[in-house]
Symmetry: C2
Subunit: 152 residues, 2 copies
Amino acid sequence: MVARKSLSGNYCPSARSLDAIGDWWSLLIVRDAFDGLTRFGEFQRSLGIAKNILAQRLRTLVERGILTSVPAANGGAHQEYHLTDMGRDLFPVMVALRQWGERYLFEPGEPHSKLVDRDTGRPIRLDVRTDDGSAITADKALILKVPVTDED
Amino acid sequence: MVARKSLSGNYCPSARSLDAIGDWWSLLIVRDAFDGLTRFGEFQRSLGIAKNILAQRLRTLVERGILTSVPAANGGAHQEYHLTDMGRDLFPVMVALRQWGERYLFEPGEPHSKLVDRDTGRPIRLDVRTDDGSAITADKALILKVPVTDED
DNA sequence: ATCAAATGGTTTCGTTATAAAACCAAATCA
DNA sequence: TGATTTGGTTTTATAACGAAACCATTTGAT
């Protein structure tokens, strides 16, 4: 079998996450869902994705519990795709990606969308902290590996 | 051309980030780099990735400024791959992915690696906040779009 | 009520990316 | 000095992807 290697049995949570949402389109769909898009056509126009690929991605995102498809709220016959709690909890991932991109992938002065607090208008950021609230940098972090059994 | 659509001109920073590191292996390589791996063979054994794919990924990660390849520190002839500042700043992305995976992709009680403060041993987490430090949830966030010019 | 267009897909087909394996030169080890 | 490891590249088969055509059902206009 030459299928894309599955990481779902991996004991690293990042690896499993990438297994679930690490393909090319899934996170972009989730981003659009955060942006309020719900309909097939909305996603398609927003992303410029091929319809067959979009259909497949929506299907697997639903299968994995990140989106739900529900009959249209307005009585129409189409489906609407909404974030589940699991999907909404990808919010920090989105913010982290956004923050990195803002910093490294834009020229100084180049315009880009911004994420702000809906109520106060304040910019949103995120920081890594220990559970007592003190900020921490990458070099201070240590990955505790789970004891190896027999598979590598 | 049927190449994978480039999002590098997109005004959404998340989209550009995914364009840079959103392919299947890149973030896993970066994760391993955080874990201290530097050599071709180390990455290959750790990930089980095909060598040609790994070589290609390392090349583009270097091109994009996320890794640097430097001659071996110990005088050997091989290259070592190290995170740049740009690469190290992906740390919050890794933590966010990890945190989400821990929560949703493991059975209760199932073992997984953990991220802790090297000095204190305290678990590391991350939260989204406004710049004055108050925590915020996804529904309180608003994406301010950049004014559209002519391309869609 | 009827025709036209939009919506939400699925199917087909060509192209690209990926995986596996073979291969190879240089360095290291015994 | 011969064997093994390292760090790749090349080749080939398969799977994923993108574009376009197609289609049934809704929705909108006349």
